[in-house]
């Protein structure tokens, strides 16, 4: 019988500062993951936290981590050459296989882009398997835009629209550096030419997912075609500790990706679906 709480060691090879509080860590080997899965990251003395995998399985492991809790702050003190512990991967991942041949709309906000990066990589690597692809990404301000270089790269393969929520000094007339849209990500819906018969993948803060979900359904998306990755504090990752349970389902094991159709069938409605009929 294995003690499944014991993490495997993995070494930090490179660190990129995406923003002041969000860094991407590159490790010395790949993990065999699906796009949308997560790991439990462990640093003895600081505990564990569930972190989405930022890399495609063909790449060495990447984790894009914002320093908001104990573990993630401890993570930001790690240097190249240090080791951390990982358990996983856990969870189900994005429904990329069943979305083949369809048009895709990807809606992300803030660090929600991180768990979608491996899905975007997968689409880019197998571009002919998918129809039209639109990526909508909202950040709070231009300085907080993640994966900036790759966003430009991805424009070759899909329509990419980026907006920033709000920040006066960045509006185009005051700060010429930002010439893009200003406003919440749902504000891009009118501009992107979406196909409501297609599949939508949504990941971001709960409030963003709530508004995105409502808006997508009101525009005619089928609840079964809108998939959201639920953020919860998965403590064990193995469907036991209970912390990620919502509506009787374990986000760590049955999710974290669920269709709105599934979410609406639960007696306890997840916060992300509030306001839908």
């Amino acid at each position: 019988m294995n003690n499944t709480y014991i993490p495997e060691e993995i070494r930090v090879e490179r660190i990129i500062r995406e923003t002041d509080d969000t860094w991407t860590f590159f490790f010395d080997r790949p993990v065999n993951n699906e796009a949308g899965q997560f790991l439990e990251v462990s640093i003895p003395g600081y505990g564990e936290a569930p972190i989405s995998i930022n890399s495609h399985s063909s790449e060495r492991l990447r984790l894009c981590i914002r320093a908001v809790g104990n573990l993630t702050r401890a993570m930001h003190r790690k240097k190249v050459g240090d080791t951390i512990g990982i358990r996983g991967p856990f969870g189900n991942g994005w429904p990329l296989e069943s979305s083949k041949g369809k048009n895709l709309l990807i809606v992300t906000g803030g660090i929600g882009l991180a768990p979608l990066r491996p899905a975007i990589k997968e689409i880019v690597m197998n571009r002919k398997d998918y129809g039209d692809v639109v990526l909508l990404y909202g950040a709070r301000n231009p300085e907080l835009i993640l994966h900036k270089e790759e966003l430009s790269e991805w424009r070759k393969y899909m329509k990419v629209l980026v907006t920033v929520d709000y920040c006066e000094k960045y509006t185009p007339d005051i700060c010429p550096a930002w010439k893009g849209d200003v406003g919440v990500v749902t504000g891009l819906f009118d501009k992107c030419g979406m196909d409501t018969e297609g599949v939508a993948l949504v990941c971001g803060p709960p409030i963003m997912m709530k508004f995105a979900a409502k808006e997508l359904l009101s525009r005619g998306f089928e609840p079964g075609n809108v998939h959201m990755s639920l953020e919860r504090h998965m403590k064990c990752g193995m469907g036991m500790c209970g912390h990620c349970q919502v509506g009787g389902h374990y986000a760590c094991m049955d999710g974290p990706v669920f269709s709105i159709e599934e979410l609406l069938s639960w007696p306890e409605r997840p916060e992300e679906t509030e306001g839908i009929q």
């Binding site: 014991i6 003895p44 564990e48 908001v68 064990c236 916060e271």
Partner: protein, 350 residues
């Protein structure tokens, strides 16, 4: 040890195990505990909880407030230790144990834990489960809050034990539920029970169950009521009354939530701990950054009841309640699951 995880053992007939029943007196019980204690740590009910047998023991008449959950699922379990360089040392050890004197509600709780923890491979639980002999007893008296007749009654007809004792007059009729149970009985040369003894056992079970003041509700009625009951005004009332203290979680034989946390000394050495947690507590649904997915007390009150009477039924086809009444006994607000079930089954806007 008594059976394969999560699967109930078929009995040859209701109330009888596949092995022949035996008959013990109280002195034989003491010999049995003595025999077990040579190879195992033996837990017996003492006061309000299970404690390591210290030579004295008298079989009680009813359940104790703190059941045997902690023997299989330690309240605070070290999962590994680490040094100041972060080198990890596995803490998984296999200890031979026996638990004596648990009740049908306790055993039902263990069978539910087999699903929650066993099926997902919780290593400490599986180790305890595989290395623990289970010897249960039929309650001789029901507590005020007992309603186990809703979930199978005072005798475990579906098995899951090594030995099960029912007090009849001066003797204990012993149902033998496993090879290990049989081995223990053979080692002590315990005589077989006669037809009369078995009849007396059944009569005793019927008598105790008859004393429980609860008319079982049909399962599908509960499920339908739960499915349609999310807006029942009952939840407003419970939200007002519940103190969100988590005591019901602690005493519940099927509550299995836990936290994983590190305890570190000033020297940098420490332990990773798996510790009981409670879905009623405010910070249970909180994520890093402070967002709380169940910050509303109503959501927490509702969740625990749904996680007993609806969600486990969807996932496993059973209720995660054993009718032990411990949550009522522990509750400072006198919240009674029987009352909740009755009101939710009445439905609508009362």
């Amino acid at each position: 040890m008594p059976q394969e995880m999560g699967k109930s053992q078929e009995s040859s007939s209701a109330g009888n195990s596949v092995f022949s029943s035996r008959l013990m007196d109280e002195s034989a019980i003491h010999r049995l505990i003595d025999l077990l204690s040579r190879e195992r740590t033996v837990y017996v009910p003492q006061g309000n909880s299970f404690k390591v047998w210290d030579g004295s023991f008298s079989p009680g008449e009813r359940k104790v407030l703190f059941g045997p959950k902690k023997i299989f699922f330690g309240q605070k379990q070290k999962v590994f230790s680490f040094d100041s360089d972060g080198n990890v040392k596995d803490a998984l050890e296999h200890t031979m144990s026996a638990v004596f004197g648990l009740r049908a509600c306790d055993l039902n709780g263990i069978l539910m834990m087999d699903r929650y923890l066993g099926e997902n491979g919780e290593p400490f639980y599986l180790s305890a489960r595989e290395n623990t002999v289970i010897i249960g007893m039929t309650c001789e008296e029901a507590d005020d809050g007992c309603f186990c007749t809703q979930f199978g009654g005072v005798f475990p007809n579906k098995g899951g034990y090594d030995l099960w004792l029912t007090h009849t007059g001066d003797s204990f009729v012993v149902d033998v539920g496993s090879e290990e149970g049989k081995r223990l009985m053979d080692a002590l040369e315990v005589p077989y029970a006669g037809e009369d003894d078995i009849a007396a056992k059944k009569k005793e079970i019927e008598w105790v169950e008859g004393s429980i003041d609860w008319e079982p509700l049909p399962e599908d009625e509960i499920i339908n009521a739960m499915l349609n009951g999310i807006s029942n005004p009952l939840w407003d009332d419970l939200t007002e009354r519940c103190l969100a203290c988590g005591k019901c979680n602690m005493v519940c034989p099927t509550c299995h939530c836990y936290d994983i946390t590190d305890e570190v000394g000033l020297d940098g050495k420490g332990e990773r701990i798996r510790v009981w947690d409670a879905c009623h507590l405010f910070r249970y649904g909180m994520v890093a950054g402070g967002h709380n997915f169940r910050g509303e007390r109503r959501a927490r009150v509702q969740y625990r009841v749904y996680d007993k009477f609806y969600y486990p039924y969807e996932r496993y086809g059973v209720f995660a309640c054993t009718g032990c009444g411990r949550c009522l006994e522990a509750c400072n607000a006198n919240i009674d699951l029987r009352d909740i079930l009755t009101r939710i089954c009445q439905g609508g806007s009362t």
